[in-house]
C-alpha cells in the first residue's frame, strides 16, 4: 500500500512565482485515507441537508459538498500545529481537525453534546486544541484574523502557517486587501486560500469581480491557481506554499472548486446557474470519484471501497441518531463564558431584578 504512485495533475497557473511540478507522488494508503475523509465529509453534509429539511436543524446552514478535495488536500500538506480559520462553511474543518461527526451533528441540532455546546451552531464551530479558529459568520472578517494568527506563530518563532480560507465572494472585501498588505509588509506566514466556487451566494464571480483571476489579486504577493477538485493537486500545491510561506511570507492560492448545494439551505442553487452545469461538475470533476478511479486503477478491490463506504455511512447514521437523542443545553448555560474573568459583573436577564454573574466554565461540567 506504500508503493509510490506518480500522478500527473493539471498544470498550475502562477503569478509572480515559479510553478511547482505537476507530477505528484502518492500511494494507495494515502489515497484510501483521502477517500475515507472525503466520503465522510460528503455523507455528513448530505445528512445535514436531510436533517435541515426534517427541521432538526435551524437557522443558517452552509454545506461543503463538492469542495471536499480542498480541505482534504490542505490537511495532507500541513500539521495540526498549523492553524486553520475559515468562514461559516465550517462543518468539515471540525472533523478534519479532530472533531467527531456526533459532536458536529449535535451542534447543528442545538444540543449540549455539540462541538460548541449548542451556543455556536452551524457557523461557529472551533477547536482551539486543534488550532482551528472557526467558524466566522461575517464574510471576509476571518481574513485579517488569520493574518493575526500567523503573526502569533511568527512572534513565537514557530515554524507554522495559518491557512486562511475564504470564498470568491469574500475575495472582494476591503479588509482582505488590508490584510494582504500587512502580511506582505511583515512577511507573515499566512496562506490565503480563496475557495473559488464561482458564486458568492447567487452572484457569479464575473458579476462581482472586475478580475476573477483571484490568484493574481494579491498583486505584489505571489499566487497559484489549483484544480480544487483534485486532492493531489491541492496537497502538492499547499506543501509548496507552506515551504514558501515559512521562508518568504504570504502567498495566495485560488482553488477552482464547486459547491453542489446552494449557498445555504434557503437557496435551491438553481436560479443563477443551470442544472446542466451542476450535473457536468458531478459527472466530470467530482473529487471523490476521481480518487475512487485512481484507487481502482491501482489494484484496489471495489469491494474494499464499498466496505469503507458502509463503515462511514454507519458512523454518520449513528451520529445523526445519537444527536437526535441529545439534550438541549440547560437554561443556566445562557450565562457561561461571556468573560474569562467576569470581574463581578452582574449581567441582566429579561426582567428587572434578574441578574446573573456570568461564569467562566469551559468544561460545562455543571
Amino acid at each position: 500500500a506504500a508503493a509510490p504512485i506518480k500522478v500527473e495533475v493539471m498544470p498550475y497557473k502562477v503569478h509572480r512565482i515559479d510553478a511547482p511540478s505537476n507530477i505528484v507522488e502518492t500511494n494507495v494508503a494515502e489515497l484510501t485515507d483521502f477517500y475515507k475523509l472525503m466520503y465522510k465529509m460528503r455523507r455528513m453534509e448530505i445528512a445535514a441537508d436531510m436533517m435541515y429539511k426534517a427541521k432538526f436543524i435551524r437557522g443558517f446552514c452552509h454545506l461543503y459538498d463538492g469542495q471536499e478535495a480542498v480541505l482534504t488536500g490542505i490537511e495532507a500538506a500541513i500539521t495540526k500545529q498549523d492553524s486553520i480559520i475559515t468562514s461559516y462553511r465550517d462543518h468539515c474543518q471540525h472533523v478534519s481537525r479532530g472533531g467527531s461527526v456526533l459532536s458536529l451533528m449535535a451542534e447543528l441540532m442545538g444540543k449540549k453534546e455539540g462541538a460548541t455546546r449548542g451556543l455556536g451552531g452551524s457557523m461557529h464551530i472551533y477547536n482551539r486544541a486543534g488550532n482551528f479558529y472557526g467558524g466566522n459568520g461575517i464574510v471576509g472578517a476571518q481574513i485579517p484574523l488569520g493574518a493575526g494568527i500567523a503573526l502569533a506563530h511568527k512572534y513565537r518563532g514557530e515554524k507554522n502557517v495559518c491557512i486562511t480560507m475564504y470564498g470568491d465572494g469574500a475575495a472582494n472585501q476591503g479588509q482582505k486587501y488590508e490584510a494582504l498588505n500587512m502580511a506582505g509588509l511583515w512577511n507573515l506566514p499566512v496562506i490565503f486560500v480563496c475557495e473559488n466556487n464561482h458564486y458568492g451566494m447567487g452572484t457569479a464571480e464575473w458579476r462581482a469581480a472586475k478580475s476573477p483571476n483571484f490568484y493574481t489579486r494579491g498583486d505584489y504577493i505571489p499566487g497559484i491557481k489549483v484544480d480544487g477538485m483534485d486532492v493531489l493537486a491541492v496537497k502538492n500545491a499547499v506543501a509548496f506554499a507552506k515551504a514558501y510561506s515559512l521562508e518568504n511570507g504570504p502567498i495566495v492560492m485560488e482553488m477552482d472548486t464547486y459547491r453542489y448545494h446552494g449557498h445555504s439551505m434557503s437557496d435551491p442553487g438553481s436560479t443563477y446557474r443551470t442544472r446542466d452545469e451542476i450535473n457536468a461538475m458531478r459527472t466530470e470533476r467530482d473529487p471523490i470519484e476521481r480518487v475512487k478511479k485512481l484507487l481502482l486503477s491501482n489494484g484496489v478491490d471495489a469491494g474494499d471501497l464499498k466496505k469503507i463506504e458502509k463503515e462511514v455511512k454507519k458512523e454518520v447514521d449513528e451520529a445523526v441518531e445519537a444527536a437526535k437523542t441529545g439534550t438541549a443545553p440547560p437554561a443556566h448555560w445562557l450565562w457561561k463564558n461571556m468573560y474569562m474573568d467576569p470581574a463581578g459583573a452582574a449581567m441582566r436577564g429579561v426582567l428587572p431584578g434578574q441578574y446573573v454573574v456570568p461564569e467562566f466554565d469551559p468544561t460545562y461540567a455543571k
Binding site: 461557529h124 466566522n136 472578517a141 493575526g148 494568527i149 503573526l151 502569533a152 512572534y155 500587512m182
Partner: protein, 324 residues
Amino acid sequence: MTVRDALNSALDEELARDDKVYVLGEEVGEYQGAYKITRGLLQKFGPDRVKDTPITEAGFTGIAVGSAFAGLRPVCEFMTWNFAMQAIDQIINSAAKTLYMSAGQINCPIVFRGPNGAAAGVAAQHSQCFASWYSSVPGLKVLAPYDAEDARGLLKAAIRDPDPVVFLENEILYGQAFPVTPQVLDKDFTLPIGKAKVMREGKHVTLVSFSKMVGYCLKAADTLAKEGIDVEVINLRSIKPLDKDTLIASLKKTHKMVTVEEGWPQCGVGSEVSALMMEHAFDELDAPVLRVTGAEVPMPYAANLEAAALPQIDDIVKAVKSIA
C-alpha cells in the same frame, strides 16, 4: 504625574513584564505616538513589540484580534476612537463574542485604546464619545480613566485582563498633571475593573460621571459647597461592568442624583444610570435623576458653538441646584 506619563509608564512596565504583550497602531513606533503615549517604547522594545501599521483600521484590528485568539496580548491603539468605527465589526463580532460562541475555548486578551470624546476645535467627525456604544455589548469591558492614578491602574489592569477591554482616554487630559501616591507608582499597581471611586464625599446630591467630566464635577462641587450644597462625586472608572452598588449606596445617602457626560443623551451612560436607579432604588429618590449631556448635535467647529454643545461647569451647578 501627567495622564500621558501615567499611560506611557504603564505600557512600558507591562511590555517589560510580559513578552506576550505588544503594541500596534498607526504612528506608535517611529513617530512615537500621535499623542506621544508610546514615546520611547520602540527604542526600548524594538519593532516586533511596537509595530507601526498602515492606515487600515479594519485590517490591523482584525490582525490584533487574531493574534489575541492565538495567545498574544496586543494593545491596539486607535489614533482616536473615531477611526475605530472602521473596525467596529472586529471589536464586537470577533473580539467580544468569540469566547461565548466557542463555548469558552478561545479567549481574547486585547486592549483597544486611544482618545475618545470631544477634543478641541476638530469638529464633528473627530469629537464623539463612544462609551455608551461599547458599554452595551456583552463580552466587552469598558474603562474610562480620569486622572493619572486611574490611567496607570486601569491600563495595567486592562493589559493583564484575559478579556477584550475598550479603554477610552481623553486627549485634553493627556497633558494634565495629578498628584500620585508612591503606591500608584509601584510596578504592580492595578485598579479593580468594575469598581467606581468616590472622589468626594457629600450628603445632598450625587454627581456621577467619567473621564474629563469628573474634573468638571469636582469643580462644580467646590462652587456648590460655597452655597452650602454638599455634593458627592462618583468617578465611574468602569462603564462596563457598571458599579451599580456604589451608585445605589450613594443614592441611599443623598437621595438625589445627576449624571454628567460629554456624549449624546439618547441611550447614553446617564440614561442607563437613571434607569438602574429607578429599577433598584426608586423609593430612595427624592427627585428625578437628571442628565447633563452633550447637546444632540454633531460637534460644530467654532469655539463658541463647541462650548455650547458640551456640558460646562456652570451647567452642572445649575442642574444640581434645580433639585438640591
